[in-house]
C-alpha cells in the first residue's frame, strides 16, 4: 500500500454536504509538516506595534479599503506573547533598538519579521547617528518591503510572500551583523 502525498493547497475542498460531516469525503494523506505550515499561514497574529510613518499605512491595511482580514491576519495582538509576526513599521532609532530586540525575544516560536519600508530595511534616507541602518542588525528579517512608506498593496504583497515562504518551508531570515546595531 503506498501513501499518496498531497500538498495542502491541492486538498480538494469538500462541497459541504452531509456526507462531508459524516466522514464520507474520503481520506487525504499529507505530510504533517505541510499541513502545519499551511495552517500557520491562515492564522497569523501580528504584533500591534508601530514605530513611525509606516505604522499609519499598516493601520490603513487592516481598515475597510484594504481589509487584511481577507488573509486571516486581522487579529493584531498588543502582547508579544500572543503574536507570531512582527511588522517593523518605521525607522528604528538607537534608543528604540533594545526595546525592539526585547519584543522580538518575547515572541513565541515560530515567529517571523517583516521589515516594512526603507528605514526598517536599510535606514532609508536617514543615514546618521540616530537611526539603525536596517533592523536586521538586531533581529532576523524574513521579508523586506520597499517603499517610503510602502503602499498598502506592497505590504500585502510582502505578507503573501511570507505565506509562500512558510508554505514552502524556506529557511528563516538571518541577522545581518550580530550586535552591530546596539553599539550605542
Amino acid at each position: 500500500m503506498t501513501a499518496q502525498t498531497i500538498k495542502p493547497e491541492n486538498i480538494p475542498v469538500a462541497a459541504g454536504g452531509p456526507e462531508t460531516k459524516s466522514g464520507q469525503a474520503g481520506v487525504v494523506f499529507a505530510k504533517l509538516d505541510d499541513v502545519v505550515r499551511w495552517a500557520r499561514t491562515g492564522s497569523m497574529w501580528p504584533l500591534l506595534f508601530g514605530l513611525a510613518c509606516c505604522a499609519i499605512e499598516m493601520m490603513a491595511v487592516y481598515m475597510p479599503r484594504f481589509d487584511l482580514s481577507r488573509f486571516g491576519m486581522e487579529v493584531y495582538r498588543a502582547s508579544p506573547r500572543q503574536a507570531d509576526l512582527m511588522f517593523v513599521a518605521g525607522r528604528v532609532s538607537r534608543k528604540m533598538a533594545p526595546v525592539v530586540r526585547q519584543l522580538y525575544e518575547q515572541m513565541m516560536e515560530p515567529k517571523w519579521v517583516i521589515a516594512m519600508g526603507d528605514c526598517a530595511s536599510c535606514g532609508g534616507i536617514y543615514n546618521n547617528y540616530a537611526i539603525l541602518q536596517g533592523v536586521d542588525e538586531i533581529i532576523p528579517v524574513d521579508v523586506y518591503v520597499a517603499g517610503c512608506p510602502p503602499r498598502p498593496e506592497a505590504l500585502m504583497d510582502g505578507i503573501l510572500m511570507l505565506h509562500e515562504k512558510i508554505k514552502n518551508g524556506e529557511p528563516k531570515g538571518q541577522i545581518r551583523i550580530e550586535g552591530f546595531g546596539l553599539r550605542g
Binding site: 508601530g50 505604522a55 481598515m63 528604540m96 547617528y129
Partner: protein, 598 residues
C-alpha cells in the same frame, strides 16, 4: 501693538546695563543680552502689562564653530496680546557653557532646555531635571555641534561580510529594559524622566504609590511614547513622558544636504501633516531669500494643507474614539482618509510623503481633474462628519469618559507654550491663519472655533477638532473658486536662481541650461542670517528656523514642533484621573512622536 522702540526704551530704563545690540533681519528682531540679565529681562517682558510676552515658543541654539562666542542661544517669545514676536539671544562661549535656566519664568522651557543640553551640550543651571531627552543616556557627544560627525554608516558595495566586519566597532550588549524605568522623586510640575537613578531603587519610595511603565510599546500611546506612571491604586499621581524613541536626527541630516534636497527629510517628521512640514520649510527659505510665490501656487498650498488638516483630525478623532472603545469611528475615519490620500496621490504620486512644495511654488502644476476630485470630496464630507457625531455626541459612554477629564486652564496652557486646538479649547482665540496670515489666508472667510467653558477638557478638544474640519471644508470651497480663476497662470516663481526653468526651454536657451545645471548640482546660496516662519498645523504652531552661513547647505534647520510643547502638559493634566483615562488624554494632546522627537 507696542512699537519696538517703546519696548526697547522700557527695557533700557529697567536694565541700564543691557546692551543695545539689536539684530533686525527679514522683519524679525533679535535682542542680544548678557546671560546674567536673562532671567530679569524675561520676567520683565512677561509681566509688563503693556508687553505681555507670556508665551515661550522655542529655545534653540546655533553653533558658529570656529567663532567665539561659539553658541547663539535663541529664546523665541510671543505676545498674543500685542501679536508680536521677540527673540532673545544669549551668546555662550565654548569654555563656559553654563546658562541660568528660564524654567522659573516659563515652565514650558523644561523640555526645550533639555533638548538643547542633549544636542548642544549647553548646561542650564538650576534646571529641575537636566538629563538627556532625545538620545539614550549612555550616548556620548552632542550631535548638533558642528564638530560632531553625522555618524553615518558607509554604504558597502560588497556581499562578503568578512570584508566589512573588521572595520565595525565592537558590539556592546543591549541595556536591560529594567534600567529604563524613570525616577519619580520630584515635584509634580517638573518632569523627572530618564534612566533610573541607581541610588533610589523602587523599594525606597516610602509612600503607597506604585510605579508602572507604559510604553514605548503600547497600543494607545500613538507611537513610541513611554510614560512612567506613579499610581495610587487606579489614580495617577504622576505621569512622566519619556521621549526620544523615534529621534531621527533630521535636523543634523539637513545640514548635509542642499536646501532643495532637504525637503523630503521633513515630510517624515510629522507624518500626518506632511504638507505643513514642507510648507513651513519652504516659507522660511522663501523669507530668507525674499522669493515671491505666484497666486496659483498659494491657493494650491492652502487647499492641500486644509485637506491635510481634515485628514489629520480624522485620525485624531478616530484614534481617540478607538482608545476609549468606539472602534467604529476609527474605521469610518480611515474610510474618508483614503479619499483624501487619493487626491494627494493624484497631485504628487505619493499617498503620504508628497514633497510637493518647492521654493517659490509647487513642483508641478495641479493635474487635470483635481478640482472635480476635491469638490466631490467636500460634498461628501459634511454628512460623514454628522455620522461621526451621531455615533459619539449622544453616546453616554463617550461623554462620561471625556467630559471633565484632563481639565486645564488658559494660564496653564499659555505657561507651557501649548498651541493649536488644545489652546483654543481653553478659550484663547489664537490661530496663526488669522493672527499672522501666510499663503493668502487673509482672503478666506472662515471662523476659528474656540472653547466656551472655563476649563478645557477632552470633550472640548474633540468638539474643536470637529468644527475645524467643517471650517477647513469652507476654506477649500473658496479655494476652488479662486483656483478656477487662476487657470493657466504660473505655479512656480520665475526666479531662475531657485526654481528650475521649464523643460522645453532647455532646448532653446543656453541660459536656462546653465540655470538648470547649477540648480541641480550646486543649489543656491541664501544670504547670511536666519529667518523663522510658522504655520498653523493641525497640532498647533509649527515653526521652522533656517539659518544660513552663505553656503549652499543650511547652517542649521530647527523645527519648533507643536507636539513637543503639548506633550509637556501630560503630568499635570492627567494628575488625579484613572489609568484608563490616560489613553484618552494622550489622544487629546494628539501628539505625533515623529513630531516630538524629530
Amino acid at each position: 501693538m507696542v512699537p519696538l522702540e517703546t519696548t526697547l526704551a522700557k527695557l533700557r530704563e529697567q536694565f541700564p546695563n543691557v546692551s543695545t545690540d539689536i539684530y533686525e533681519f527679514r522683519g524679525e528682531t533679535t535682542l542680544t543680552i548678557p546671560r546674567e540679565s536673562l532671567l530679569g529681562v524675561a520676567r520683565f517682558l512677561r509681566d509688563d502689562p503693556a508687553l505681555r510676552f507670556d508665551m515661550l515658543l522655542d529655545v534653540t541654539a546655533l553653533d558658529w564653530l570656529p567663532k567665539e562666542p561659539r553658541f547663539d542661544l535663541l529664546y523665541s517669545l510671543l505676545s498674543m496680546q500685542q501679536n508680536a514676536r521677540l527673540r532673545l539671544r544669549v551668546q555662550v562661549s565654548s569654555w563656559d557653557t553654563n546658562v541660568p535656566s528660564i524654567t522659573p519664568i516659563y515652565p514650558g522651557a523644561n523640555f526645550y532646555e533639555r533638548e538643547v543640553f542633549d544636542l548642544f551640550g549647553i548646561t542650564f543651571t538650576d534646571h529641575p531635571f537636566l538629563r538627556r531627552i532625545l538620545l539614550p543616556d549612555y550616548s556620548t557627544g552632542h550631535p548638533l555641534r558642528k564638530d560632531h560627525p553625522l555618524g553615518y554608516e558607509p554604504v558597502e558595495f560588497t556581499h562578503t561580510y568578512a570584508e566589512i566586519q573588521p572595520e565595525k566597532p565592537a558590539a556592546v550588549p543591549p541595556p536591560k529594559a529594567k534600567e529604563l524605568i524613570g525616577s519619580v522623586r520630584g515635584s509634580p510640575v517638573e518632569i523627572p524622566v530618564g534612566l533610573a537613578d541607581p541610588q533610589t531603587p523602587w523599594s525606597a519610595t516610602d509612600s503607597d504609590t506604585l510605579l508602572i511603565n507604559m510604553g514605548p510599546h503600547h497600543p494607545s500611546t500613538h507611537g513610541v511614547l513611554r510614560v512612567a506612571l506613579e499610581v495610587d491604586g487606579e489614580r495617577i499621581v504622576n505621569a512622566m513622558p519619556d521621549v526620544g524613541y523615534l529621534h531621527t536626527g533630521i535636523e543634523k541630516n539637513a545640514e548635509y544636504k542642499t536646501y532643495l534636497k532637504a525637503i523630503p527629510l521633513f515630510d517624515r517628521m510629522d507624518y500626518l501633516s506632511t504638507f505643513f512640514n514642507n510648507l513651513v520649510y519652504c516659507l522660511a527659505v522663501e523669507k530668507l531669500m525674499q522669493i515671491q510665490v505666484p497666486e496659483r501656487a498659494q491657493i494650491a498650498r492652502v487647499i492641500l494643507c486644509e485637506l491635510q488638516r481634515i485628514q489629520s483630525h480624522l485620525i485624531a478623532v478616530g484614534s481617540q474614539a478607538m482608545d476609549i472603545g468606539a472602534v467604529t469611528v476609527m474605521t469610518y475615519a480611515f474610510r474618508e482618509r483614503e479619499q483624501v490620500l487619493d487626491i494627494f496621490e493624484m497631485v504628487s504620486g505619493a499617498r503620504m510623503m508628497a514633497s510637493y512644495f518647492r521654493f517659490g511654488g509647487l513642483a508641478l502644476d495641479l493635474p487635470a481633474g483635481f478640482s472635480d476630485a476635491v469638490r466631490a470630496f467636500i460634498r461628501m464630507m459634511p454628512p460623514r462628519l454628522k455620522e461621526y457625531e451621531d455615533l459619539l455626541n449622544k453616546n453616554p459612554i463617550w461623554i462620561e469618559r471625556t467630559r471633565g477629564i484632563a481639565e486645564y486652564t488658559q494660564e496653564q496652557a499659555i505657561a507651557y507654550g501649548v498651541t493649536g486646538p488644545m489652546l483654543r479649547a481653553t478659550g484663547v482665540n489664537w490661530d496663526l491663519r488669522k493672527a499672522a496670515p501666510y499663503s493668502g489666508y487673509e482672503q478666506y472667510d472662515f471662523d476659528v472655533p474656540v472653547g466656551t467653558r472655563a476649563k478645557a477638557d477632552v470633550l472640548e478638544c474633540y468638539h474643536i477638532r470637529m468644527e475645524e474640519m467643517r471650517q477647513s471644508l469652507r476654506i477649500i470651497d473658496q479655494g476652488l473658486a479662486k483656483l478656477a480663476q487662476t487657470k493657466g497662470q504660473p505655479y512656480v516663481t520665475d526666479n531662475r536662481k531657485v526654481a528650475p526653468p521649464p523643460k522645453q526651454e532647455l532646448q532653446t536657451s543656453m541660459e536656462s541650461l546653465i540655470h538648470h545645471f547649477k540648480l541641480w548640482t550646486e543649489g543656491f546660496k541664501p544670504p547670511v542670517g536666519f529667518a523663522y516662519a510658522a504655520v498653523e498645523s493641525p497640532r498647533g504652531e509649527l515653526g521652522c528656523l533656517v539659518s544660513s552661513n552663505g553656503t549652499n547647505m543650511p547652517h542649521r534647520v530647527h523645527f519648533r514642533t507643536p507636539s513637543f510643547a503639548n506633550l509637556q502638559t501630560l503630568p499635570f493634566i492627567s494628575k488625579g484621573y484613572y489609568i484608563a483615562d490616560l489613553v484618552g488624554i494622550i489622544a487629546m494632546t494628539d501628539i505625533i512622536l515623529g513630531d516630538v522627537d524629530r
